[in-house]
């Protein structure tokens, strides 16, 4: 009986397997890299309706974060300031700047400014700002050096493993509560972050939920 299949077909299964492996590996690593928060989120820098510069306000002028994000210490959310807050200064300063046209319009018409959201936790995550900033976690730990950004971008991945990095090792991040909004803070000479962190974690009994899912998922 003649060979039903030609000779080259002996290699076919192996070729198919190799192809599938390459293809599968490619898809897997593609998803692994491109679908992660590190890729999808970090660097996200939408254009805001008003060209507000944190670099000028928080950096150059040295305004405290809490002047505008006034409820960050009391609420789960760090609020976006009302138009009124902008107008506190801009009714006197830069009164006629064309960049502030939308702000003035909003103030006159009562129509709010629609800022574009950059940092967003998924619906099943309940992040609370107040408990972090009151316990020595600085704004810079999650948002990067906003005081150096002209246009704010997503600086950290804010994925769950990234959260847990701190929840498991808070000593690597906590600092004195008075320095939380000082984005340029560095540990005083002669001490490392680790030393200060360990000291504070012990003194304040810091125990973030590291195993308790309900700490963030409710």
């Amino acid at each position: 009986m003649a060979n039903l299949f030609p000779r080259w077909s002996n290699w076919l299964p192996i070729k198919i397997i190799i192809c599938l492996l390459v293809l599968g590996g490619g898809v897997t690593s593609g998803v692994w890299y491109y679908f992660t928060p590190k890729y999808t989120r970090v660097g996200y820098q939408p254009t805001q309706p008003v060209p507000f510069s944190h670099k000028i306000h928080a950096g150059q002028l040295g305004m405290d974060c809490r002047y505008c994000h006034s409820f960050v210490e009391t609420s789960a959310y760090s609020n976006i300031p009302t138009t009124q807050v902008c107008m506190n200064c801009h009714s006197q300063v830069q009164k006629d700047s064309p960049k502030l046209e939308l702000v003035r319009q909003s103030w006159e018409t009562g129509k709010p400014i629609e800022w574009v959201q950059i940092h967003k936790t998924p619906d099943y995550v309940y992040f609370n700002h107040s408990v972090h900033v009151n316990r020595g976690v600085s704004c810079v730990s999650c948002h990067g050096k906003v005081n150096e950004m002209d246009v704010v971008y997503h600086a950290e991945s804010q994925s769950m493993s990234w959260c847990l990095d701190c929840h498991r090792n808070p000593e690597d991040f906590v600092r004195p509560v008075s320095e939380v909004t000082n984005l340029n803070w560095v540990p005083p000479a002669g001490k490392t972050q680790k030393q200060i962190g360990e000291e504070l974690v012990k003194k304040w009994h810091i125990n973030p939920p590291d195993k308790n899912c309900a700490g963030c998922h409710r």
Binding site: F71, G110, W204, K211, C213, G215
Partner: protein, 1067 residues
């Protein structure tokens, strides 16, 4: 150690036992099915609806193809953050604000504190500063927030059923009023919800139009009781029970702890049932005798209960009065009793037992003269109620346990009289303000005809209902959370109804409309403030007093004061002798129209939470049914679900029967309010409309009814067998009498309640599993006092509102897929042979938060794990829906989202994803608690102990600690917050708190002698303690030996003896 296999001991089929349903009692295959499966046959399979397995596969193929097209949309959608332009005082984004308000209700408004997020009211709580509420509410207040956001609410003016506008209505109204002259062409029909401002405006309207007619109608009101009080004490008086002072309470056809009571009465009753030890119980516990035709919540709490047809309640009172007259030597009472024309006999099988029941009850009432009370049902004819008042007078109850108060309610015409007026044809314009008379007026009034005699009918309502459909103008009404108003609580104190949100659909309030008619300033706030100034008498600085009223929710010291009053024997005697006789035929049934525990008179028909709430007694959802006793069912060869024809006079209706143990044999009960035709999709055609059988003569019950079998069947969605625990009442609910408790607990056997059932035999537990160290500073736990839990189910609705729990619809309830995180288990307990007269126990059942949780060990993806503070937590985003956890839960408290209940309408659950409309109504989204995830299809969920509240409290403690250097970890102070179910409970039967904090209430309660944990021998180490039920029977009563008997038989009273032949233990 040898392998330890634990089997429940086979339950004795002949002894005393607990049972949930007749199915369990008879051990039907259906019940076995419920017992052995977490979900019933078919619940876990794709079936029914429009999708077969085959075309499901086809559709799946298509969905994969389509999914490829949408991959490009991986980026998150652009979202905007929109701050206010000007800051709003007190408003902090993400923080709740709390305002006082009140929910106007028929029997007295409920003082409230409303939780609002960013201006949206999301949750209703009772006002802890007000004595009527003390933080508690009922199911109607809890579910009212759903009515506010009902997407099917009336959204605009209708003229003859076609959309119109507010301007057009104002023009029409102005025309009507300018032509009204002295008002002889005007008539008003209002509902029975009282408001001081409405009363004030009524006067203003009648001053402008002196000839206008003013009528009021409430199908389930207390009009007969008010009439009786007016006869006995003179017009303008009302009576109110004061149960905190009552040692002995007898209720005759009166559900004082249920639909015929109020929060204050429930609380007062329970205050006498909170007992710490057996000495306390002896000294403090009240005794409750209940005479009723069907099991009610009151009957469930009774120490002695007699089932008796409602039409024979008068007979019972007559016999009781004769006994008390003999004891007191009060001849006038005997005379009144002899004048009451009622059936001669109670009609039971054992006449001697009945006689002794009445006699001993009378002796007990008399022995606590001045501290006993007889409460007669609001359903009973005036003559019967008057006899009740005469008995109370003889018992010295008036002014002590039954107080008399002045009421400012001015009498109005009844609906019958108004219908007569309308038929005369002189009334051109009829205003129907609230209510739904086309649906619920007595049939002999022929209201629809009467109403059509008026040229213009203007109907104000929150929904387009039956009356709106027959009205000229439909005016959308504002919800009470949308507009200023005022009301009086059941103690008469003045409450301000504060709005939480602008009217969503431009609804107007009743007082706004009345003010327009009266031609006075119609700003509701100004109207209410004017009434407030009149009532408070404050002239100077009224602004500060007003601000304080808003802060407190009520005007201080405005509760009505009891007045000295004595019954007028002559007036009672006259009225009783003039009253018509109640006749009962030997063969006929009586038909009792009961106020529905959920829909009231039908007004809440479009509220899905209420429709799906199992009735506290029957456990029936999404329907009403004719309740009959099992003996009657047997005699007529009927079973639950058989459709019967009930014939009353020339009217009849067809309805399914439901066998209810403890029901009187010659009686049929059926709830009103179902069978609505003009209502949103939730309530449409749910159940059977009973109103056609109701006439003015027999508004609340009627005799001479016959019943015929039709041979057809109807599916009822009854949850009573759902979640049945593998047998053994005594392991689950435990009870004893005061005597038994003192005998055992105080002396030889302090662990009396802990060692009932199989726990009496179980050797010491040990565990093979480990769980994370429970090393948090907190340990959350709960205690449930079965001695004060009346089973009202307010906790279930509170849980639903707090935790964004969806409804699933009747079909899914039948499949056992209801989503309630906590259920109210209702057990009957009886001795062999006395199943017709069982005792009842209600038991709230929620996740027990086992420290050794069986669900956690079987989860393949660690979606349910343990936290350091002892919670069994669910991570929804991890859950893949294997349902292993639910199968392994000994308490059957886990719930699975078989469908995307939040995103789909109940009618399109079975439709394939892309073919059905998806998404939640915008208004429904506004109700959701922003701190709780809205779960999707395929996810398991269960009670979390309100983890969002726990986390909020813990975060608050940490924020408070800030950078202070304390000796210990930041800790939540004792009892600063509680779970939703504990907060709502009117009897404080549920207590939640930190077990590690010795100052917390729950830490003390768990040490109670009555405390036990469910299925202790499984070593699940629950975090929920139940406190056993105590009964306080009168030893002289003929049925005294039965009280609490089901637990007594359950091995509790003897010491454990391994050789005594019981199964269990080492094998």
């Amino acid at each position: 150690m040898s392998k330890r296999i634990f089997q429940h001991p086979e339950e004795s089929q002949t002894g005393k036992r607990y049972w949930r349903s007749l199915g369990q009692l008879q051990d039907t295959p259906e019940f076995r099915g419920w017992l052995q499966r977490e979900f019933p046959q078919g619940a876990s399979e794709l079936e029914g609806g429009d999708v077969s397995r085959r075309n499901f596969i086809q559709l799946m193929g298509a969905s994969v193809a389509l999914a490829g097209l949408s991959l490009s949309a991986c980026r998150r959608p652009l979202k905007n953050l929109v701050p206010f332009t000007r800051g709003v005082e007190w408003s902090v984004p993400g923080k709740a604000l709390f305002f006082t308000s009140a929910m106007p209700a028929r029997g007295g408004a409920i003082p409230l504190v409303v939780t609002t997020f960013d201006g949206r009211p999301t949750k209703i709580e009772g006002n802890p500063m007000h004595p009527v509420s003390k933080g508690a509410t009922d199911i109607w207040a809890q579910s009212s927030v759903l009515d506010l956001y009902d997407p099917q609410r009336s959204k605009g003016y209708l003229l003859d059923g076609k959309p119109s506008s507010a301007d057009a209505f104002q023009k029409a109204l102005a025309g009507i009023l300018s032509a009204a002259g002295d008002g002889s062409s005007l008539a008003f029909l209002v509902d029975g919800v009282q408001s001081p401002t409405r009363e004030r405006l009524r006067k203003a309207v009648l001053a402008k139009f002196p000839q206008a007619k003013w009528a009021s109608y409430e199908p389930n009101g207390n009009d007969l009781e008010l009439e009786a009080a007016a006869v006995a004490f003179g017009a303008g008086h009302e009576i109110a029970p004061k149960l905190e002072g009552a040692d002995v309470v007898l209720t005759v056809d009166r559900d004082i702890l249920g639909v015929e009571g109020d929060l204050a009465s429930v609380r007062a009753f329970a205050s006498r049932r909170k007992v710490e030890n057996s000495a306390d119980a002896k000294a403090k516990m009240n005794r409750l005798y209940v005479v009723e035709n069907r099991y009610t919540l009151t009957g469930g709490m009774s120490d002695h209960r007699m089932r008796l047809a409602a039409s024979r309640a008068g007979t019972f009172l007559k016999l009781l009065a004769a006994e008390i007259a003999a004891l007191s030597g009060d001849s006038s009472l005997g005379k009144i009793a002899s004048e009451l024309k009622v059936p001669e006999k109670l009609g039971g099988k054992d006449a001697a037992k009945e006689t002794s029941w009445v006699k001993e009850c009378a002796v007990d009432l008399w022995s606590r003269k001045g501290k006993s009370v007889v409460l007669v049902g609001q359903r009973q004819p005036v003559a019967v109620q008057l006899l009740g008042l005469a008995i109370n007078s003889a018992l010295g109850a008036i002014g002590q346990t039954l107080i008399v108060r002045k009421t400012d309610t001015v009498p109005a015409l009844g609906i019958g009289a108004l219908a007569e007026e309308l038929r005369k044809g002189k009334t051109a314009t009829l205003f129907v303000l609230g209510g739904n008379p086309v649906f619920n007026a007595p049939s002999d009034v022929k209201w629809t005809d009467a109403q059509s005699a008026a040229k213009t009918v203007i109907h104000l309502a929150m929904e387009v209902n039956e009356t709106s459909a027959k009205a000229t103008w439909h005016v959308p009404a504002a919800h009470y959370l949308e507009q200023w108003g005022d009301a009086r609580a059941s103690d008469g104190s003045y409450l301000v109804v504060q709005p939480m949100i602008m009217p969503l659909y431009n609804g107007v309030s009743e007082i706004e409309l009345l003010a327009k008619i009266a031609g006075v300033e119609s700003d509701p706030l100004a109207l209410v403030q004017k009434t407030f100034v009149e009532i408070s008498g404050v002239t100077a600085d009224s602004g500060a007093v007003w601000a304080n009223v808003l802060k407190q929710g009520s005007l201080e010291k405005s509760a009505s004061k009891p007045v000295e009053a004595a019954v007028s024997v002559e007036a009672i005697s006259k009225k009783v002798s003039e009253s018509p006789a109640i006749r009962v035929g030997d063969k006929d049934f009586e038909l009792v129209f009961i106020t529905d525990s959920k829909l009231d008179d039908g007004r809440y028909a479009n509220n899905g939470w209420l429709q799906e709430l199992p009735d506290p007694i029957t456990k029936l959802t999404w329907d009403n049914a004719a309740l009959i006793s099992p003996a009657t069912a047997k005699a007529l060869s009927l079973e639950t679900g058989d459709v019967v024809k009930i014939i009353a006079g020339d009217k009849s209706l067809e309805v399914a029967v439901l066998e209810l143990p403890g029901h009187a044999d010659d009686s049929i009960s059926i709830a009103v309010g179902y069978g609505r035709s003009e209502v949103g999709s939730v309530g449409r055609q749910v159940g059977v409309d009973v109103y056609p059988l109701i006439s003015s003569e027999s508004k609340r019950f009627r005799t001479g009814v016959t019943i015929q079998k039709t041979g057809r069947q109807y599916a009822l969605a009854i949850t009573q067998e759902h979640g049945a625990l593998e047998g053994r009442g005594a392991d689950i609910t435990r009870q004893a009498t005061v005597e038994e408790w003192s005998k055992n607990a105080e002396k030889a056997n302090p662990d009396y309640f802990k060692k009932m059932g199989i726990d009496a035999h179980a050797p010491e537990n040990f565990s093979l599993y480990t769980h994370p160290a429970l090393d948090d500073v907190h340990a959350w736990g709960m205690a449930v006092d079965l001695n004060t839990c009346i089973g009202c189910s307010a906790c279930m609705i509170a849980c639903q509102a707090e935790n964004n729990i969806p409804i699933v619809g009747k079909e899914q309830v039948i499949n056992g897929r209801e989503m309630h995180w906590m259920r109210m288990d209702r057990y009957f307990a009886s001795e062999a042979g006395s199943e017709s007269e069982p005792e009842m126990v209600s038991q709230p059942m929620m996740c027990q938060h086992c420290e050794n949780a069986p669900c956690e060990t079987v989860c393949p993806v660690n979606a349910t794990v343990h936290s350091e503070d002892g919670l069994n937590v669910m991570a929804y985003n991890r859950c893949i829906g294997t349902r292993y956890c639910a199968n392994n839960c000994p308490f059957k408290v886990r719930r699975f989202n078989f469908f995307d209940y939040n995103e789909r309408s109940l009618t399109s659950l079975y439709k394939w994803n892309l073919l059905s409309e998806k998404g939640m109504a915008e208004s429904s989204k506004m109700q959701k608690n922003p701190n709780v995830t809205v779960r999707m299809r395929g996810v398991m969920e269960k009670c979390t102990f309100c983890v969002q509240r726990i986390q909020e409290a813990k975060i608050a403690a940490k924020v408070h600690a800030r950078d202070s250097e304390a000796a210990t970890k930041p800790q939540v102070p004792a009892d600063v917050f509680t779970s939703a179910c504990a907060q709502v409970c009117p009897t404080e039967a549920i207590t939640f708190g930190d077990l590690k904090n010795p100052a917390s209430k729950v830490a003390k309660l768990k040490e109670s002698q009555r405390g036990y944990r469910l299925l202790e021998y499984l070593n699940t180490s629950n975090r929920v303690w139940y406190l056993a039920r105590i009964r306080n029977p009168n030893p002289k009563m003929p049925d005294a030996s039965r009280a609490g008997s089901a637990s007594r038989d359950a091995h509790g009273s003897h010491a454990h003896d391994p050789a005594n032949g019981h199964s269990g233990g080492h094998q």
